[in-house]
Symmetry: D2
């Protein structure tokens, strides 16, 4: 018989993920801070809106929240109702150190913990093609893998608790640095009379290419379309978690450190609710030109 | 009738490029600082070893040299023998400003100039599949395009004289920053117990991917194979040209500026003759770990 | 009647400070991790070597230890013996956040806490002319001020608990950046034929002067004397605390962030036990020159 | 008999300097781009307003202009009238490489060149107490020293042609980094509840002190007085010359490089005509606080 699932947090990612769980045959309870969203989900996807107390009864509890602080808060509220043998799967782009504390806390109740952040954006969430990077014990990972396959295509066990969050943070920090550096370089080329479309075509056939030059900048910046799919404030938060990963690893990392600083500038000057690619508007302002 | 071609500089890139020109039916004169290399080329590829004076008679003169300084020196030596109506195509990873000076100098003799740096590595040079990024007038570009098609697959006119070198320098600077940043991030993950092979697999299915994470680091760093195909000293030189492009564009570009600084450190500490990917050995030394 | 004092930690700074307290008429108990040092102190300065249990009976307990972690450990060990109404004065170059935790912990026992890091070096400690920057309540500060006057000349209340440590960390971070930046600039001048003595004389009569150019570099670097009075590892630790102050203040601070990175490099390449001014040996190595 | 002097450029520094030359008994011709300023100077200080042609007849020609480009332009215009045996003393905060070109150019005419930038601000210029840092031959320096003593108190021969400008640029770059770093640190302390006046008092009694913490920030920033004595655009230009000094010295200098980047940001965001200390307004904006 299929395990019962609860899903806490029906944001842009969580909403379609919870839908996919139900669709794959896992009876899914859903909870959201604003209850109306949960009811809407129930009628749209056939899930069941539930209280935190009821959600605590599930075999596998998913959380997908803004930060690890909200996860810790829900764990505290649900503590009296959680039961031994269940598994908490946290898909938040969270903080490795905070996750290790949550895992220790849950283990006292016999609840296993996996950090399982995802990548692939809202499209991947809707199509069930996310990449899921999982930290935690091998055994728990294997137990939950069939459930995770309902939401993602590439399900990878990456290390002990916290490793999933660490890897997600580093991935997003690389996204951030590749995007920003390409912005600096393209702004300089534009000021010297090179068409950024031509520059991107050449770079993407050469060694300087990255996801930023292949997808983000052509689709969002050059077109001036700026679709808002991943907020600058959230990317900056993720890069901030990347800085904690560096703190924990105790190594000089000047380029990634400076990357956080420029995103902090961009978040303040452009605004946290802009799309992450709009960080390049700060470079454009400094350069007095547009990458277009 | 096919134009006559001369090729100056038979290094790792120039040698196979000159061979491909001859193979495509362009009668090719070759010259190299050490004459023996030219004779070897003649017997291997059917080209003709020639003096600079003879090379100056060609319709299209290619140069492929370490830096723009060597190009300027050859232009000065060949000046008395160059003839109006010919085209000089410089495939060196050169300096835009120096190229603009050379172009002005040649234009007094009626010789047109194109900067035409390439990307694709020695494999691309051998297979004739290079990307060629060309700066200069549209008209000269169209005139020489059939010759360039003998050495590359993607021949792109990117802007006025200097634009080819500027774009090449920016491409290589992006390569440098993407590589170094990935090194910092992976070293931090390794120190937190994540296998770099797993980390790379996830990043390459996610938003942080770049040519560095997809190709360079898996093939060169993780394997400890360190094939020496593009020297650290040469990449650092190219990033230095990228800095001149930034100077000319007059914009703040803190991340690319810092990238040059760390490569200058790596060049000194690891050595200019190491492969460019060996720059990450400096990060490994700082971190006290190996990305493997 | 004069309050009874205990002093925990007889290192390069603590040793003379405890001596000065006794000399000023405060009956002083001394404790050190290696007991022999305490006995030596007792016979040299007339203090009394004591157990932690006995030290806990004092009215004012000073600690002067490598990091806040050692302070927290001693607080935990002495907890059963501490008594309400006493004051703990921590002269460690400590961490503001850790100090706030220790202060909360001690307040449960009725023990007040001041963070009171010092500056002035071993000379200032011996001569009783230290600057003491004190964080904590105004009332506790006024109560302990007469005792502090035995060890320092400038006793300043700088803010709530943690403020002393924050200010000390920022001061030392400014020392670090001023020193390193001057090293970069002087190395460049030397490579262009300027005598660093002449350069320093001019800078010190101009707007670029700092304690680094006025004292540290002339006395330690140019002379190649490198007296070892403040270890590079300790300065790097202090700058690391400066980074936590930045974390807590949530602002972009690219120049101070990069300063920490270069000191982390120097600590690894030159060694943590070298004098802090020897960080400039890394710049000299990169530059291929000596600032002398 | 006293040599005849010409002074080209009657800006905030040049105006009082030319006055002091006349006052010291050197018959002084003055020229300014806007002729009215020269006439005003003549009636105020007893100098003689002159054409460039007449100025070229002087024994010692001073220039004090915005950049080396303006110096080169005047040299070109005055070329036909300059005479062998005279000395050109350039007090501009100029570019070492440009100065070496100007010196070579003038030497063809038998005119010696000294680069002689000054520090001490408008007050020093008015009181004749400037520091003058002179590059050029020892012999020329000794010949002109008595004239220089009319404008400055500390006249120092610092090296060959260009060395004066290099040292001035490095001094101002250290001013820039010390000022900016102190701004970052103080903003962080203010956000943690420390009064910046108290913080500065402690820092200035400790190892982190610099001209920025002792004078600039207390007088300009904390008071919100922002007197406009040295424009942000000019300091940024000087730091830019510092970057050329680094280019010429070929060494990694990450901290000074980043300093230029943040001043370029500040120049754009705060405006080039603000006082240089107003650069800290950008830090304040990022931090959401005032250093006051």
């Amino acid at each position: 018989m299929k395990p019962k699932v609860a899903f806490l947090g029906l944001g842009a990612m969580g909403y379609p993920m919870a839908c996919n769980l139900q669709r794959a045959g896992f009876p899914t309870l859903v909870w959201n801070r604003t209850a109306k969203k949960a009811e809407e989900h129930a009628s749209a996807c056939g899930t069941t809106a539930a209280s935190l107390e009821a959600a605590a009864m599930a075999d596998v509890i998913f959380s997908c929240l803004p930060t690890s602080a909200e996860v810790a808060e829900l764990v505290a509220r649900m503590r009296p109702h959680l039961h031994s043998g269940s598994v908490w799967v946290d898909c938040t782009s969270g903080d490795p150190e905070a996750s290790r504390r949550i895992a220790r806390d849950l283990s006292e109740l016999g609840v296993a913990f996996l950090d399982a952040p995802v990548s692939g954006g809202t499209t991947g969430a809707e199509e069930g093609t996310l990449t899921v990077m999982v930290g935690g014990s091998e055994e728990t990972f294997e137990r939950v893998r069939p459930v995770l396959e309902a939401v993602g295509r590439k399900i990878v066990h990456v290390g002990p608790v916290g490793a999933g969050h660490a890897l997600k943070a580093v991935n997003n920090t690389l996204l951030a640095v590749n995007l920003w550096a390409a912005g600096e370089g393209l702004a300089a080329l534009v000021k010297q009379g090179v068409d950024p479309r031509v520059a991107l075509a050449v770079i993407n056939a050469s060694s300087g290419r990255s996801n930023a030059t292949e997808n983000l900048i052509p689709e969002r910046v050059v077109t001036r379309a700026w679709p808002n799919t991943f907020k600058l404030g959230l990317l900056t938060k993720d890069v901030g978690i990347g800085m904690k990963v560096l703190d924990g690893a105790d190594l000089p990392a000047p380029v990634l450190r400076l990357t956080y600083e420029v995103y902090q500038m961009a978040k303040r000057e452009i605004g946290p609710d802009a799309d992450h690619a709009e960080a390049l508007k700060l470079i454009e302002r400094w350069a007095g030109t547009e990458i277009s």
